[in-house]
Amino acid sequence: MSASRRPLPGWVEIGLLPLANIAMAFLLVGVIVEVIGVDPLHALKLLVLGAVGSSEAIGYTLYYATNFIFTGLAVAVAFHAGLFNIGGEGQAYIGGLGCGLAVLALDRYLPPLLVIPLAILASAAFGAAWAAIPAWMQAWRGSHIVITTIMFNFVASALMVYLMVNVLIAPGSMTPQSRGFAASAAVPSMQAALQWIGIAVAPSALNLSLLLALLACVGVWIFLWHTPWGYGLRTMGHNPEAAVYAGTNLKRMTMLAMCLSGALAGGVAVNELLGVHHRLVLDFAAGYGFTGIAVALMGRGHPLGIVLAALLFGALQQGGAELAFEIPAITREMVVVIQGLVILFSGALVHLPRPWLQALFARRG
């Protein structure tokens, strides 16, 4: 008990501990897979090949990872401020509304160089606005942000269904989706982009939004650790009383943190709508917001860790889909179980292997 707070070497803390968590999750997954009558090693091979076995597979893995980076960053920024934003899902969804409205209004009149940045800004602004309401309710009214952000996910979902079915549906369409965006609003696919510089890869859903996600990582890193606002935000997260003492306005800082968080979640809409669907559709954000919580936890709230965790979850998503396709006994739900176990071990049980690692390194040190 008293050993639980003894520090581990840095590389063990951020490198080995997560690996041990993942290994334990996979061990348990192996047992389950064995029980349903599938050879675990064969399944593992299919999973890995499905995720990184071809340039197409890698493309899809990175495409999923892009979404996870956005939502992981969103959760992490709020988390550094001591706020648990469960509403990434809804913020990404409403971000999509902003994105769609901007494109539908502008795509026939403006060139890509204007439409795309404006659509990105609209995604971020709508995502931020959707996060701002729970933030305001927490800061001024004392409503707990965990509850309100969860509820806002449902509100967002209902609102989008209403708008898509009644307002934004393409005339004459049977499915609730908007008209297709004009070509001027398409973020180039990675395949096309790489072709310009002479590299041939298989087509996939991966598009240049990945670069935007990486840029967001750098931005978040600079903001949190190299600006006075990021300093104030982290102070509030660790120690609100110290933040007040330092002259930080907690209400305003809550708004800033949540708006930033919502804006980052809006990035999912850029990847999905501008990069893949090229129209406003229903449910494009499904699941990414929640997985983002696991990504942020596993990445320890650090952009670099979030990129690595997003890659892992992207690989699980893509490899899991392949696995379900190849082995009928392993269904989509099984893949969700695998993700769930990884989340369980790297989230809730993150400190489980700590005593063993401590014993290991205490003996050496």
Partner: protein
């Protein structure tokens, strides 16, 4: 004074405990006789609380033996300690405010799936204890409605109800008024006469001399002396605690007062429930003087510092700080106060003064993070912050000199020196200091007090709030006493003595 029995209720042999590089307890051995009151005294950080936490199973000793009633025992957790009849009353009460006394008493020993049985049993037991030890408390009162002294009685009852025969009290009088303290001492005597063994941890010599049979003195983690209370006096004990002659005589030149830098006029603060926390406070602090605010903890000193530093706006009256007027309609925030030249060393350094998880370099700019030279063009300059912190550490002798170390890894004294350095480095016009040396080791105490006087001599207006009378007496040029949110007296330092201030602190005399 009753005759002491020879057999020991508690015996500790060669207890040793380190936290990281801090050697908190060094080979401490002691005996506590059954049915006696034993005092353990020592300065802050002398290791007395750590030693008792080991006895109570909160920490594991690195080495040494614990014997209860002559038998060696393992104390792996408080559960073991309770099993051996040891009970501990903590400095901070562990009570659920919204529960009744009875509900608090059965907490953790509910006695079955339904509460009714446990409550009824506790009620009978409580009546018995109340009769036997004179510990009368209304069993159906809500804890939130009780006075601090009564809450402490509930804590003691809770421990006795668990069958404790050995009672450890950690700084029990820190939150009590002198009258409540006297009442507590009476209860302790009664407990002893009924055969309970009492261990009293404190640094207040008055209580030790009034109630104990034996005193154990600790210094720097070691047991340095053991005395029959009847054979010692305050002077002797104080010298043993500090390890040399006690007068904290700071060669202090008389104050050269300048103009008024900070003034409060008819300041009041009423909280949301209508409780008057500050009541018609008027005071002035002039450049070049130290004004000390004495008082029992919880009489409005915390709120006064909050209001003066801009953390909370006053609800009535006004403040004039370095030429700027502040009142309910024109509040300032702490950042603006800093801009005016009002620096603030907060009372609670771990919750307010620093962020334990931050690096020392980050802590060294808390509140100044958006200023030159730490921040230009909206970006912070990490290397500049590191150099600044290293410089502060050098000037204020913060050890270790490691700007890259987490703030929580520094000792209390060094954390305090770093905070003081941060607030004094910018040559403020007004310096507000809350509990300058709480939980700070002796070496650092002297250093901090000398720095405060240096700052005064450089023309700073210094306001010191402290619950340590001795500190107020040695630092202040003028002393104000707070009681119940009011200033009840003002004395020039030369004319003040502990007795007179003590009476005012108890509200016995209005100025």
């Amino acid at each position: 004074m009753q005759e002491l029995t020879a057999d020991a209720a508690i015996e500790l042999r060669g207890i040793d405990k380190s936290f990281g590089s801090v050697h908190a307890v060094r080979g401490a051995s002691l005996r506590v006789e059954r049915g006696s009151i034993t005092g353990i005294v020592g300065e802050n950080g002398a290791g007395k609380s750590t030693l008792m936490s080991i006895l109570y199973g909160l920490y594991r000793a690195d080495a040494g033996e614990i014997l209860i009633e002559g038998r060696p025992v393992e104390m792996a957790s408080p559960r073991d300690a309770i099993g051996h009849g040891i009970g501990m009353v903590h400095q901070h009460f562990m009570l659920v405010d919204s529960f009744t006394v009875l509900e608090n008493l059965i907490l953790g020993a509910e006695g079955g799936a339904l509460l009714a049985g446990g409550l009824a049993a506790a009620r009978t037991e409580l009546a018995r204890l109340a009769g036997e030890y004179g510990l009368a408390v209304d069993p159906d009162a809500r804890v939130a409605d009780l006075s601090v002294g009564e809450q402490q009685r509930v804590e003691i009852l809770k421990v006795l109800l668990r069958g404790a025969r050995i009672l450890i009290l950690d700084e029990p009088s820190a939150v009590l008024t002198p009258q409540e303290t006297d009442r507590l001492l009476q209860i302790l005597r009664l407990l002893r006469d009924r055969g309970v063994t009492v261990v009293l941890i404190t640094h207040k010599l008055r209580e030790i001399l009034a109630v104990t049979d034996k005193v154990i003195v600790m210094r720097r983690g070691e047991v340095v002396a053991e005395r029959r209370t009847a054979e010692t006096d305050a002077q002797d004990l104080a010298e043993l605690m500090v390890g040399r002659t006690v007068r904290f005589d700071l060669d202090k030149a008389p104050a050269r007062e300048g103009e008024t830098m900070l003034a409060a006029r008819h300041l009041s603060l009423v909280d949301g429930r209508g409780v008057r926390l500050l009541d018609d406070i008027s005071l002035e602090v002039r450049a070049g003087e130290i004004v000390g605010i004495a008082g029992v903890s919880g009489n409005g000193q915390t709120e006064l510092l909050q209001v003066l530093s801009g953390i909370r706006p006053p609800t009535g009256g006004e403040i004039e700080a370095c030429g700027r007027r502040v009142d309910a309609a024109h509040p300032v925030d702490p950042a603006e106060m800093r801009d005016l030249g009002v620096a603030h060393v907060p009372e609670d350094r771990l919750r307010q003064g620093l962020v334990p998880a931050f690096l020392a370099s980050e802590t060294s700019i808390l509140g100044y993070q958006d200023r030159e030279p730490f921040c230009h063009n909206y970006l912070m300059d990490g290397p500049a912050v590191g150099r600044y912190c290293a410089d502060l550490m050098e000037r204020f002798d913060v050890r270790p000199r490691a700007p890259g170390l987490r703030s929580s890894n520094f000792s209390g004294g060094n954390q305090q020196k770093l905070i003081l350095a941060r607030e004094m480095a910018r040559n403020p016009k007004v310096l507000l200091v809350g509990q300058p040396t709480r939980g700070v080791d002796i070496g650092a105490i002297e250093f901090i007090r000398r720095e405060l006087i240096k700052s005064r001599d450089a023309g700073c207006a210094v306001l010191v709030v402290s619950v340590e009378l001795e500190e107020i007496l040695s630092l202040a040029d003028r002393i104000l006493v707070m009681f119940g949110g009011r200033i009840v007296g003002e004395v020039a330092a030369g004319e003040a003595d502990e007795r007179m201030l003590g009476l005012m602190m108890a509200g016995a005399r209005a100025a």
